[in-house]
């Protein structure tokens, strides 16, 4: 027989669906099925209890193979590594709870580390732009209830945030939008005819990398000023048409993603997009929102913000917090050889950083805290498996619109496995002992 756990948070992406229903065996030990999740969330739950799950820490041997060690040995190696490093990097944080992030920050302050999260390769450039020009935004329920003009710029939610459009942005029937998608006009700006673009009323197949120009053209078009015949491959007539369509709405929203944060103009793209939003507020109500990737990268930015005052790339190595993207960001630090130890948690730089950075991680004392085997774990000196947040342990998480939701525990972790928070707490306690002796 089975029972169903309801109101479960999905710990995958920034959409942070909280309406999952997980069917477990009567004894509450085994996940049998998942309802309401997208394919990715479902896989996360169903795969959490795979037979080949790594259950104990593994230490890299001289010949490159890995040997199982105890959690105590793992705690010792980690504490020693952090205590002995002059400038360690503690990176990731995006796939774990705020409670764990908080303990990690205590450790970082103690050992003088740099704390950086996955925004560094995702929406870090957004954060820089916001620090220049601010950001007019709203919660996702405002979109559901009010928005009738939706602009997806440089993002593909059909693939990256699969339930976003049905839960918030296109299909829901809200208080003032009771005709659902029939009330809404959708524009997609993307160099490919993506699965998201296929659902749009307008697709602007922009010349890749020329978003800054097209954003500027939109800002010109809404003022009715002169434009050249084409901008970024888009004919001016279509730009004017889209501008009028955006202005004629009651409530508009721009969702944006990696297409504009990671291409060459980086933070300048986002600056321009935010200024476009601000300009549109002269005609009608408009907001803008970043499509955050990991389910708790926003949380990492929040916790780091209230504890240190900065959202990512925070350097604590001088005893007080400093922030300077380009100087204190992970990839720059690794490439320039400025860190002497790497602690990774809740992320996979081995797969998602340029390979030149990964090479540096593989050459340094390194610890990878992750339930999975990943390219990071397989080049780190120590791999520490932990419980899945949102599946095997609860914890607070922040959605892409900054709304905090407390993840639930659905099943127990494997026998004897620690959670992120437990492992970090033990490392913290060991560090107290080590650093007192010094």
């Amino acid at each position: 027989m089975t029972k169903t756990v309801t109101d479960v948070l999905c710990p995958f992406c920034g959409t942070l669906c909280d309406d999952l229903e997980v069917v477990v065996t009567d004894d509450g030990k085994t996940i049998v099925d998942v309802y309401n999740a997208c394919a990715i969330g479902a896989e996360k739950f169903m795969h959490a209890q795979a037979k080949d799950r790594v259950k104990r820490p593994r230490m890299q041997q001289a010949d490159g193979t890995y040997k199982e060690v105890s959690y105590d040995e793992a705690v010792e190696y980690t504490a020693q590594m952090l205590a002995n490093a002059r400038k360690p990097l503690m990176y990731g944080w995006s796939s774990t709870s705020c409670e764990a992030q908080s303990v990690g920050h205590e450790i970082a302050e103690k050992v003088g580390a740099i704390v950086d999260n996955t925004a560094t390769v995702c929406h870090g450039t957004t954060l820089i732009a916001v620090q220049d020009v601010g950001i007019p935004s709203c919660t996702l329920g405002e979109i559901k209830n009010r928005a009738d003009r939706i602009l997806f710029w440089g993002c593909n939610p059909a693939h990256a945030h699969p339930r976003h459009q049905s839960r918030y942005s296109i299909f829901p029937r809200g208080f003032f939008t009771n005709k659902g998608h029939k009330n809404r006009k959708v524009v997609v700006v993307d160099p490919r005819r993506t699965d998201t673009a296929k659902m749009a009323d307008y697709h602007f197949q922009i010349e890749q990398g020329r978003d800054y120009e097209l954003l500027s053209a939109f800002r010109v078009a809404i003022r009715g000023e002169w434009l050249p015949d084409t901008v970024a491959g888009i004919p001016k007539e279509r730009i004017y048409e889209a501008a009028e369509m955006l202005k004629s709405g009651r409530f508009g929203i721009i969702f944006f993603g990696m297409g504009v944060t990671q291409s060459l103009s980086k933070n300048h793209n986002i600056d321009n997009a935010i200024m476009l939003t601000k300009d549109l507020n002269d005609y009608t109500k408009f907001s803008i929102m970043a499509m955050r990737g990991h389910y708790n990268v926003t949380g990492s930015g929040q916790v780091m913000g209230w504890q240190f005052g900065f959202p990512y790339a925070t350097d604590l190595s001088r005893g007080f917090a400093r922030y300077n993207p380009g100087e204190t960001t992970s990839n720059d630090l690794l490439v320039r050889g400025e860190v002497d130890a790497v602690f990774v948690i809740g992320s996979d730089p081995g797969a998602h950083f340029p390979i030149s950075s990964v090479k540096k991680i593989s050459q340094l004392p390194s610890v990878c805290v992750d339930p999975h085997i990943t390219p990071t774990s397989e080049v780190s000196k120590l791999h520490v498996p932990v419980a899945f947040v949102g599946v095997e342990v609860g914890g607070n998480c922040y959605r892409m619109d900054n709304v905090p939701i407390d993840a639930r525990k659905v099943v127990d972790p494997p026998e004897g496995m620690l959670t992120d928070e437990e492992f970090l707490t033990r490392v913290n306690q060991r560090l107290d002992q080590l650093m007192e002796v010094e």
């Binding site: 909280d18 302050e109 329920g141 007080f320 900054n402 709304v403 905090p404």
Partner: protein
């Protein structure tokens, strides 16, 4: 058992009517007592001023807009950082300090309790996480109700009982303390880019006026008998000529009688009144209307106010008055952040420079002080800066200096660029009133505690009250220079929180054991309201109802104030 005897200080305690007499304060196990044994640890307060720990009734120190301010202003951290100490975390930020710094700086000034001024209920978990990371001081938070869909719909139909049931439910779900109202109706209008600028402007679609919202919420507050009164930030904040809207709002309290078991005898708290006491009709003829407003406040005994004094710093404004913040960014073109919150409220953040070279800022500075100086009942006027809106709370000692010394005010006015014009537009130059330490104790301790319904716990040194005690290096019987006031109140000689020493010689010595205050109002069952709540979660909210309320593990040492509101 832990005993302390704070000896020989000049005590200022409005609760016991002690006006600077030399007296001893005895503490046992966290509470003030009549006397202690000879084994008590003696704290020598000879030649020093002794007061209860101060109570901050309105500051923006924990939550999503506060943190947006921190994250989008890295420059606010420059040159402000203090490295970690033996028992303290590293701490930085000027106008929006990190949570650690917030706790430490309040404690160093002798503040031991603080209320977060505006909590959007959907983000309550965030507010409580920041409260947890704010050391030493007890805290509570006010959820906002003035733009809430449930409230507007019930009040449109005159359903006070249902409004009250919803309020009780929301206070419990968000672990909140009081009914906060910000720009009633106007912030819902802002979700369409509109606003409500007078008390009679109807809210789009909901078709209810700010006057009806404020009146209904006051009635619901007294129906429930909550410890604090309705706490309101009126419409039209910051606009020249807005004092008429302020008076219209304050007059709504005339018909309401206080009803509660907490000793509260007021029904409306009007916050940061400085921003709402403006005359003229443009920035050119902008002038102070503090006299007109305070004439009314002094007469109308059932309201309390806090000043919202301008400190003349570069600071960060942040408020749930979303349309105001948009207006401000159009004025000063500094970066604007905005967060509209579904079904509940909105907010905005914009940096602002209160420059002593700008006439309008000079007048704003004067208005805040005039409000405090014109006060007749110092138990009904409280000192704030609406941190960080009019300035950082770390400037309280400077505000105290200006209030206690006409000479310091004169010096400040003489160095203004537009002193002559500013004097013409305000009352301050003609005022030589100087507040006494007793009056300041009323305005920062006993008064706010009473308004919050916590007069038996905080704000005084009577036996039975919490042992929150502050000792300052200030001798009221010796002559002093005004700057010595600011120095003494910036870094207390000794601060004790719930019987634990937390500050010694201006330095933090312990993180204490802070508590979270929230109000649990028990009402009769109301199936209709519960059905309405379930309905709106199903249809309009973007989170599930079962994921909305703040679970117990988010609260640090909860101190629940229970209200029996069942009928």
């Amino acid at each position: 058992m832990s005993e302390y005897l704070i000896k020989n200080g000049f005590v200022f305690d409005p609760v016991q009517g002690i006006r600077g007499d030399k007296a001893d304060v005895a503490v046992r196990d966290g509470t003030i007592v009549d006397n202690v044994s000879s084994g008590a640890k003696v704290i020598d307060a000879a030649g020093k001023t002794v007061m209860a720990g101060a109570v901050e009734i309105h500051a923006h120190i924990a939550g999503p807009k506060v943190n947006e301010g921190r994250n989008y202003r890295p420059e606010d951290k420059l040159f402000t950082y203090r490295p970690k100490g033996k028992g303290s975390r590293m701490a930085g930020g000027f106008s929006i300090p990190t949570t650690f710094k917030t706790g430490y700086e309040y404690a160093r000034m002798g503040y031991t309790t603080a209320m977060e001024a505006a909590m959007p209920p959907l983000f309550a978990r965030h507010v409580h996480e920041e409260i947890r990371d704010t050391p030493i001081i007890d805290e509570g938070a006010y959820p906002v109700f003035g733009n809430n869909w449930f409230v507007m719909e019930y009040l449109k139909n005159g359903e006070i009982e249902n409004t009250a049931a919803y309020i009780a439910w929301l206070l419990r779900a968000s672990k909140g303390y009081a009914i906060k109202v910000v720009n009633p109706g106007g912030t819902e209008a802002w979700s369409w880019g509109l606003n409500c600028l007078t008390v009679n402007d109807p809210v789009p679609y909901f078709d209810i006026t700010p006057a009806e919202i404020m009146t209904g919420l006051m009635q619901a507050n007294e129906y429930l008998g909550l410890p604090h009164s309705m706490h309101v930030h009126q419409n039209s904040l910051g606009n020249p000529g807005n004092y008429t809207v302020t008076l219209d709002s304050l007059k709504l309290a005339e018909k309401i009688r206080p009803n509660n078991k907490f000793g509260r005898d007021t029904v409306l708290h009007s916050t940061h009144l400085q921003f709402h006491s403006y005359g003229g009709d443009n920035w050119g003829n902008f002038e102070s209307k503090s006299k007109e407003v305070m004439d009314y406040v002094n007469k109308q005994k059932n309201i309390t106010i806090d000043t919202g004094c301008v400190t003349l710093d570069e600071t960060t404004t942040m408020t749930a008055d979303g349309p105001f913040e948009h207006h401000l960014t159009e004025l000063n073109h500094l970066k604007w952040a905005n967060i509209d919150v579904e079904l509940e409220t909105g907010s905005g953040v914009v940096p602002y420079v209160y420059s002593p070279d700008i006439k309008v800022c000079e007048i704003q500075w004067a208005i805040g002080l005039e409000i405090a100086l014109m006060t007749r009942d110092h138990m009904r006027t409280f000192i704030t800066t609406d941190h960080p809106n009019a300035g950082p709370f770390t400037r309280y000692p400077r505000i105290i200096k200006w209030l206690m010394s006409a000479e310091a005010r004169k010096e400040r006015i003489e160095s203004f660029k537009h002193g002559a014009k500013m004097v013409d537009a305000t009352y301050i130059a003609g005022m030589d009133r100087e507040l006494s330490l007793y009056e300041l104790a009323q305005m920062t301790r006993a008064g706010p505690a009473k308004a919050l319904g916590l007069a038996n716990i905080y704000g005084g040194l009577a036996p039975g009250m919490d042992a929150d005690v502050a000792v300052y290096n200030f001798n009221p019987e010796r002559s002093y220079k005004p700057d010595e006031i600011e120095k003494a109140f910036s870094a207390a000689a000794f601060v004790m929180k719930a019987g634990t020493p937390v500050v010694v010689d201006g330095e933090i010595v312990s993180n204490g054991n802070k508590r979270t205050l929230w109000v649990d109002a028990k009402t009769s069952e109301n199936p209709q309201v519960m059905r309405d709540i379930r309905d709106k979660f199903l249809k309009y909210y973007s989170v599930n109802m079962n994921n909305y309320d703040v679970a117990g593990h988010f609260l640090t040492n909860p101190r629940v104030i229970e209200v029996d509101a069942a009928r």
